[in-house]
């Protein structure tokens, strides 16, 4: 993609500068999300962003879009109400891995199960950044955080696997190194009729990177580049070669499943028909 084609997203931004540390990947994810809106040419007032609590949750504060930042972990449950209240809105949730998979884990699996037409952009930095770098349900075993000074002993979730087994119908993953792909995947997720999860692998050089000696932002991005393998390419690779790799791209797409706001409308039609009899 040439520079000239990068969509202008300035109309979506407000209240900058942001509070994120230098080297933080959150801005890249937000940029990718905003470019997806521009690509889809969505009416600005018809987008609603519900954000989580934590570093990534702050994203909503910088957006010139309808949206709110409710309580920690509950963004998907709030977004479910927004979408049911006005199914015409494009509802996007911006939330972190701790927010979504730990305190909000229950809402995550149930949003997947309902297949409601909401797009979750899951910022995964493998830790809690805002509160000081504690371990999250995405922190790999053995890694150090401020609450795992001897190395993490908890198993970690794979958000993609969890989403798939819980019923999400569009699941993709990319990284902040692959910003253009990330933007395309978010656009596809928004266009998809049903619950979509786009896991955006990001970095926290300030806490997680420093504690695990992963280098600065540049080195951490380089690691993302090296670890990422597109799903297409992975199809031709053996299991051993895929160990420690990060599958990216569209990882699961199911078309034609009943979307939740439609299901609610079906119930209404059924009830009104029965009442008329």
């Amino acid at each position: 993609m040439s520079a000239a084609k990068i969509p202008d997203i300035s109309k979506y931004l407000t209240r900058l500068p942001h509070i994120w540390c230098s080297g933080c990947g959150n801005g890249i994810v937000v940029g990718a999300m905003l470019r997806s809106l521009e690509k889809l040419n969505l009416e600005q007032s018809q987008v609603a962003v519900v954000s989580g609590i934590g570093c990534s949750g702050r994203a909503g504060t910088y957006l010139n879009l309808c949206g709110f930042q409710p309580t920690h972990g509950r963004a998907l449950a709030f977004a479910t109400g927004v979408k049911l209240g006005n199914p015409k809105l494009h509802v996007i949730v911006l939330a972190g891995d701790g927010d979504t998979l730990s305190i909000g884990g229950n809402h995550f699996i149930h949003a997947c199960r309902r297949n409601i037409d909401v797009t979750l952009v899951l910022f995964n930095n493998s830790s809690y950044g805002m509160t000081g770098g504690q371990h999250a349900p995405t922190t790999p075993e053995g890694y150090k955080t401020t609450t795992t000074p001897y190395g993490n002993i908890d198993g970690n979730f794979d958000a993609v696997d969890l989403a798939k087994s819980s019923g999400a119908t569009y699941i993709a993953r990319s990284t902040i190194y692959h910003a253009s792909q990330l933007s395309d995947l978010i656009a596809k997720g928004i266009s998809h009729k049903g619950f979509s999860v786009i896991e955006a692998m990001t970095i926290c050089p300030t806490q997680y990177g420093r504690m695990n000696k992963l280098g600065g932002a540049v080195e951490m991005m380089e690691t993302l580049r090296k670890d990422a393998v597109s799903a297409k390419k992975a199809a031709g690779m053996d299991t051993d070669a895929l160990k420690e790799k990060l599958l990216t791209g569209e990882l699961y797409v199911k078309e034609g499943a009943t979307e939740y706001t439609e299901a609610v409308q079906n119930v209404i039609a059924k009830a009104q028909k029965r009442r008329a009899q």
Partner: protein
């Protein structure tokens, strides 16, 4: 034989559900819990018939989350629960207060603490209703004492929520929720419906929290063309955080209180009976107020000048309405299904000017008129 079609024999929970429909509630999300489940069950059937939305969420936290989310889009949204579920809702209740999002939470109170006694009545959530969520905040709470009043107050709760951009609590209890009573269903043209005020300014000029001195800021619905943002972080009139501005934090939190306090006369309802010459006042609410009505009659039959102050609005507390009687009274008798939650607030209101005695039960049984009468008689003798 023909039945009178304006009369329904409903339980309190039925009346709550039907009141919600009459009030225009078009979004309900709930999670099963005794003794509130029937409100969900009735609305699961009735709301779709009316072309409106019912969902059962994964827990009470999600229930209130989606209720508040739906309200952002202009829906009149409600949930119903009981003590344990109400506890789970507290954080989101605080968000709805701070973000000023209209919604109604029905709490059909049961015996606590913890799982308590699920099928039996209590009034143990009076203080949870007031202070359950953290931080300094105002709240509106109403308590019905009959099936018909459950219907009426559900409508009123929805109206107050819309009018004041605030969550409103309806504190029912296991007796009121589960008993049936015959009631006249009012015709729809007899029912006052209040809708939230929408902005009159253009989207460019709109500030979602621009208000002073008890005003209620107009609220645009998401999707209406007004782009606005808010957060549970203390925010300024634009809805964006103002955490580095102590003056603005002070102004905005006080504004939330003023919004309710300046309008208290519109919100506070007290049912006063035979108070003009009363020497003993029984202060009661909910199912217990029915026992209190009887007790006051029994006392009058015995020549005792007893009266009733029935709290319909619990929060904000009807202090002005009560204070006017302090000098004429020998004592307040406060029967309640807890160990003195209303009594404690009353002490704060009365400031030692009048004697206050409690009649308290926490054994899962309703207070009887005889128990209240005994207390009244003791105070006459004292």
């Amino acid at each position: 034989m023909k039945r009178n079609d304006s009369i329904r024999v409903w339980t309190g929970n039925d009346a709550c559900a039907e009141g919600a429909i009459a009030a225009g509630v078009n979004f309900f999300a709930g999670y099963p819990i005794t003794p509130a489940s029937e409100i969900s069950e009735v609305l699961a059937r009735r709301l779709p018939e009316e072309g409106r939305t019912f969902v059962q969420m994964e827990d009470e936290i999600a229930s209130l989350s989606s209720v508040v989310g739906a309200s952002f889009t202009g829906m009149k949204a409600m949930t119903a629960t009981s003590g344990p579920g109400f506890s789970l809702m507290q954080e989101n209740l605080g968000f709805a207060i701070e973000a000023e999002i209209p919604c109604v939470i029905v709490d059909v109170q049961r015996v606590g603490p913890a799982s308590g006694v699920a099928t039996h009545p209590s009034q143990g959530d009076i203080m949870q209703a007031r202070w359950g969520t953290h931080g300094d905040h105002p709240i509106i709470a109403l308590a019905p004492y009959s099936v018909r009043e459950t219907y009426d107050l559900t409508i009123r709760a929805v109206n107050l929520a819309e009018k004041y951009r605030s969550p409103v609590l309806l504190l029912s209890d296991a007796v009121i929720g589960h008993m049936s009573e015959n009631m006249v269903v009012p015709a729809s043209d007899e029912i006052e419906i209040i809708n939230r005020t929408k902005p009159k300014v253009s989207p460019e000029e709109y500030k979602p929290y621009l208000a002073v001195g008890g005003e209620v800021p107009p609220m645009a619905s998401y999707g209406d063309g007004y782009i606005w943002h808010t957060t549970g972080i203390i925010h300024d009139e634009t809805g964006f955080p103002c955490t580095s501005n102590p003056n603005m934090i002070d102004f905005q939190v006080r504004r939330l209180h003023d919004k309710i306090a300046f309008n208290r006369d519109d919100i506070v309802t007290v049912d006063m009976r035979q108070m003009d010459d009363a020497e003993i006042a029984v202060v009661a609410m909910g199912s217990v107020a029915r026992s209190a009505v009887k007790a006051v009659k029994m006392a009058r039959d015995r020549g005792i000048k007893a009266g009733l102050i029935r709290l319909v609005t619990i929060w904000p507390f009807p202090d002005e309405e009560i204070i006017q009687y302090t000098s004429q009274l020998k004592a307040f008798v406060v029967p309640e299904l807890n160990l003195g939650q209303i009594q404690g607030q009353l002490r704060q209101t009365v400031e030692g000017r009048t004697k206050i005695v409690g009649v308290n039960r926490i054994d899962s049984k309703l207070i009887t008129p005889e128990q209240i009468l005994e207390s009244i008689q003791n105070e006459v003798k004292a």
